[in-house]
């Protein structure tokens, strides 16, 4: 295994570490910027990178819960459509969208239909992973995977490369066990090991999963029981960005070269960890709902520029 610390410099010393560089508030949106570890050093000398990186961005949407019609949101389709309109209007056109699960409220065909139709208005490719609300049909998510899954992986997880960045889409909402939290399972962990084997540790990784891959609040099930085993497989990589949904709020943590980010919902907010009797919908007043919902743009910039994660609420 190569050791990043003994490789020749190819982008300045600071690019050699996953160093938190800057955090700033911009309007109502949180601007979170950091050097992306080896991402900023990804250069022409890195023959293992499959495609030379170029600058690009993608958008994360999450927890659209199409079919949810209770306080504080009388129609989650309306706010989801507003979110998609914001994506379509972005000045820097994203290459694609990732939806990190809970597309629907109850896995009903008409809910998946509506989500599909609304997302088409962005005119961008969309990559999906399921949330637990998308697995409620009688066949453990078949309806979701038939419509949104990747044919090559009937079990639901998959990976792809985009301009030198490797994306891993995980499923941690299937076959959950009593008393447990999110779970990846041994088959998926074995697949992940194979998927990452042989890849240059300088290739930036983006890991997608619905339930957070870091333990946020176990009493509410806000964590994944075998996340540590998955993260161990990513440990040699210089830049790992983990994008999750499920908890309907923006939280971040940086641990070594791994940055964890949960996303806002486009349907309803949930309470801060442990605040309140349960993780049920936070019933904010109607005029404050859109400030509690949002979308996220992730920008990879070639060269020494930092990876930028910009969260934007639906109220701006």
């Amino acid at each position: 295994m190569e050791d990043d610390n003994h490789r020749p410099a190819s982008g300045g010393g600071i690019a050699r570490r996953g160093l938190l560089k800057c955090m700033a508030w911009g309007g109502t949106g949180l601007v979170w910027s950091m050097t992306a570890g080896r991402a900023t050093a990804l250069g022409l000398d890195d023959v293992a990178a499959p495609v030379p990186a170029r600058s690009f961005s993608f958008v994360q949407v999450s927890d659209s819960h199409i079919g949810f019609t209770k306080p504080p949101n009388p129609d989650s389709r309306v706010t989801f459509r507003e979110a998609v309109a914001k994506i379509a209007a972005m000045p820097q056109k994203p290459d694609f969208i990732v939806h990190t699960g809970d597309v629907s409220q109850l896995s009903r065909p008409e809910e998946f239909d509506d989500a599909d139709q609304i997302l088409r208005e962005a005119k961008l490719p969309v990559f999906f992973i399921p949330g637990e609300h998308d697995m409620l049909d009688d066949e453990n998510g078949k309806a979701f995977f038939d419509r949104f899954g990747k044919a090559a992986q009937p079990s639901g997880w998959y990976s792809f490369d985009h301009h030198g960045v490797h994306f891993v889409a995980l499923v941690n909402v299937a076959n959950l066990k009593a008393g447990g939290q999110g779970s990846l399972g041994p088959d998926q962990l074995a697949w992940l090991k194979r998927d990452l084997a042989g890849r240059s540790s300088s290739q930036p990784l983006v890991v997608l999963a619905h339930i957070p891959l870091w333990s946020i609040y176990p009493d509410w099930g806000w964590g994944t029981d075998d996340a540590a085993q998955a993260l161990a497989e990513t440990a040699r990589f210089g830049s790992v960005t983990v994008l999750n949904g499920h908890i309907h709020q923006v939280l971040q943590k940086v641990e070594g070269r791994v940055s964890f980010h949960t996303a806002a919902s486009t349907a309803f907010p949930q309470p801060a960890p442990g605040e309140g009797p349960s993780p049920g919908p936070l019933k904010v007043p109607a005029d404050r709902l859109r400030a509690a919902l949002g979308i996220r743009q992730v920008r990879f910039t070639r060269g020494d520029q930092p990876l930028a994660i910009v969260d934007q609420t639906l109220s701006v």
Binding site: L106, E132, L136, L176, A178, W220, G221, S278, P279
Partner: protein
Amino acid sequence: MRLMSLAVVIAALTLAAPAHAAYGYRAKPAGHPAAPPVAPAAAKVTIGNFTFGPQTLTVKVGTTVTWTNDDDIPHTVVADDRTAFKSKVLDTGQSFSFTFAKPGAFGYFCSLHPHMTGKVVVQ
């Protein structure tokens, strides 16, 4: 022993459905050919604030347990082994019933929120 199990039945009925406790129990000898049909025992579990209440419910063999979702988030009721009993998804206000025909302790959980667990003890 017999007295004890009778006491448990009365306690369970009182807890679950106090208005019908007296009606639900008839003190007739079991197996008597002239005995009128005994109303089946019933008990309730309420799902609220992402918890099952009561978390542990003790009932007599033959009792029908009904779970009702009072949360504004859907839940399910699934036996720990995923086979003994399994509800469809319960949206707000919806219920699921299961009759426990055999004695034993039956753990269950919500398959959407697996940190939600409960138990039915059948005597």
